[in-house]
């Protein structure tokens, strides 16, 4: 009986990297809690308007009756926290901070997620092509990555934003937030892709020498099939890790741009624009500043922690248990 049990347990079951990684992640408490926090933030973003409606708060309504006459600061403790306004109201306008945070999360996450998606898409395609094709294509693409990385990111973004926005509008995109948000996504994506492309290129350089690629070539598979059906499935680990690390960087970049005055069109809120607006009130109404800040930090920290854990979990060199 005991012998049978032992043999049963000792049966070597091959596990894929995906199964291994998932098993490791589930044991990692930090990873699971950051996933939980991120899940919450995403839910908040998705159901933001519903939650606001349910709580009876609105991100755009002015409540000047809740402000002091002198200085227009919110009345009451912690920047005007009350049952009607659980996170207080803004100075000067009296808009509900909770509602603005809920709506702002949607836009901040949407911008970061879209930019991550574009970055990952372009980076992966360019990286695979550069890595698989030897010679001139590789050299041209690689040098192009180097040149893109040499540009001072923030400066070019700030300088290019009005220009790109004008172009988009002349292409027929409505003025205001549709074209502004598209512009932000584009400029944030333009400079991220070379990092991933380099990473993928390096991986493909070694993958393309493996037998399965040789086999695919020998049965006459098209180049397109080899690139995207044979090579791509082997690259999801670095892509996933990169995407997890790109998200917090892009959330931070959105906030930094907002601080420098490049953000969505007011009165639409984002985490960045809320921070930018609240910075000036920091000494008199610190709570107003800490609300968007804690949201932003929670998201950025969780993504960074998850990225770290994913990198460890997906490491093929790690112990297989």
């Amino acid at each position: 009986m005991s012998i049978a049990k032992a043999t049963k347990n000792d049966v070597v079951v091959g596990r894929t990297l995906r199964q291994l990684a998932w098993a490791r992640l589930r044991k990692d408490r930090v990873a699971m809690s950051s996933m939980f926090v991120l899940g919450l933030i995403v839910l908040i973003a998705i159901f933001g308007p519903l939650i606001s409606k349910w709580l009876g708060v609105n991100p755009y309504d002015f409540n000047t009756d809740l402000l002091s006459d002198a200085g227009s600061l919110p009345l009451g403790p912690f920047g005007g926290v009350s049952r009607d306004h659980p996170l207080g109201v803004e100075p000067l306008t009296g808009r509900d901070i909770l509602a603005r945070l809920l709506y702002g999360s949607r836009i901040s996450l949407f911008i970061a997620l879209s930019a991550t998606f574009v970055t990952v898409f372009v980076g992966t395609v360019v990286g695979i092509i550069a890595g698989y094709s030897r010679g001139r294509t590789d050299i041209v693409l690689s040098r192009f990555m180097d040149i893109t990385l040499a540009f001072p990111l923030l400066l070019v973004i700030i300088a290019m934003t009005p220009v790109i926005e004008q172009r988009l509008q002349s292409l027929g995109l409505p003025a205001g937030n549709p074209s502004r948000i598209t512009t932000l996504i584009l400029v944030l994506s333009v400079f991220g892709w070379p990092y991933l492309a380099r990473l993928i290129r390096g991986q493909v350089l070694s993958l393309r020498e493996r037998e399965f690629v040789e086999a695919a070539v020998s049965i006459g598979s098209s180049k397109r099939r080899i690139l995207f059906r044979e090579l791509l499935p082997n690259l999801w680990a670095p892509i996933l890790v990169y995407a997890t690390i790109a998200m917090p960087a892009l959330i931070g970049a959105e906030a930094a741009l907002a601080y420098l005055g490049i953000s969505v069109v007011p009165p639409t809120p984002t985490w960045g624009s809320m921070l930018e607006e609240s910075v000036g009130y920091f000494t008199v109404d610190p709570f107003y500043f800490f609300v968007p800040l804690s949201m932003l930090l929670a998201a950025v920290l969780s993504f960074n922690l998850l990225g770290d854990a994913l990198r460890d979990a997906l490491d093929p060199k790690a112990d297989r248990n």
Partner: protein
């Protein structure tokens, strides 16, 4: 072996710089705004615009403008024709109507500020970051390691403007520990210089040190698992020598790469930090130029910043070969 490698790399660098200058030029000069119209303020007449257009050569085709621009950088150029000419000697990066000055002068004035900022922060973060990383790697898995890693993760996640603003608000506005930032050259007033630069240095150092602590730690841990470390231990070297001479040196290469590129990136202007602490450096110059749509200045600052990075790329690659004997120069 080393020399042909360097020559080849320099050649590639020159090629890249050329492409870079073309892209920069197109990016900012093929914009749907009329640069000539931007040369004068509210009291503008069509005659002044037309005259300025000719003076600055903006009536020429773009390719001619590019050639003139490049020529200006190397041999200088003369603006205008007839009696109203003015000389812009090499390296001429253009004329900023907004500031009423040659762009080269603006950059030369701003560059030292950015340089002091970048180098000071660099020294600080390398010292703190690498020591933290080594301390964490030595105590791998213990509480010291976990503490250092958590602290650095938080530091790494904080937005730059937040760190800068917080330091500004608390150290200067609330507690009056330092006077309000007012940049003075270190040769004129060293005390004021250090008082102004301290917070910007710390701001940048916090962010970068966090990153370098993590990088150093992971590098050290990776190299400590290599076979040559086991060999070094097996032949009876002390743990200290193994750590310093073998593990640290081998793990140093990616740190050198990052350090070189980060320093170069900062030399092109630490936009947000300079903005917060009102330092008259390249970043502030560029932001001002962007807000005013001062095209020659934007183009020049972007070009200068990019040149720093490209040159640093070359220096780093050469250093690479010098540090790591495993790097093959093929």
């Amino acid at each position: 072996m080393m020399f042909p490698y360097i020559v080849r790399r320099v050649f590639v660098m020159i090629l890249m710089l050329t492409i870079l200058s073309v892209i920069t030029f197109i990016l900012f000069n093929a914009v749907p705004t009329d640069p000539a119209k931007l040369t004068c303020g509210k009291t503008c007449t069509p005659e002044i615009v037309a005259a300025n257009r000719i003076r600055l050569g903006l009536d020429q085709p773009l390719i001619v403008q590019y050639v003139e621009w490049i020529k200006g950088i190397f041999v200088g150029r003369t603006y205008g024709t007839g009696s109203a000419t003015f000389e812009c000697s090499a390296p001429c990066l253009g004329y900023s109507f907004r500031n009423g000055e040659e762009v080269t002068t603006l950059i030369v004035n701003a560059l030292p500020v950015t340089m002091y900022l970048a180098v000071g922060a660099f020294l600080l973060w390398m010292l703190v970051g690498i020591s933290m990383g080594i301390a964490a790697a030595k105590n791998h898995g213990k509480w010291q390691d976990r503490t250092i890693m958590s602290v650095s993760l938080i530091g790494y996640s904080l937005p730059v403007f937040f760190v800068g603003l917080l330091l500004l608000i608390f150290a200067i506005v609330r507690w009056n520990l330092l006077p309000y930032p007012n940049y003075e050259s270190p040769f004129d007033d060293p005390v004021a210089f250090f008082q102004t630069m301290l917070l910007p240095w710390v701001t940048l150092a916090i962010l970068y040190a966090a990153y370098y602590a993590r990088l150093t730690r992971s590098q050290m841990l990776e190299t400590m698992g290599e076979d040559f470390i086991r060999t070094a231990r097996a032949k009876g070297l002390s743990e200290r020598v193994v750590f310093r001479k073998h593990a640290f040196r081998a793990g140093l290469t990616p740190i050198v790469t990052s350090a070189g590129l980060d320093l170069a990136g900062l030399l092109g202007g630490a936009v947000i930090t300079e903005y917060i602490f009102s330092l008259p450096g390249l970043g502030r110059l560029a932001i001002g130029a962007v807000t005013d749509y001062d095209l020659p200045t934007i183009t020049a600052t972007v070009l200068v910043a990019a040149v720093f990075v490209i040159v640093a790329n070359l220096v780093v690659d050469i250093l690479y070969a010098a540090i790591d004997p495993r790097v093959r120069l093929s």
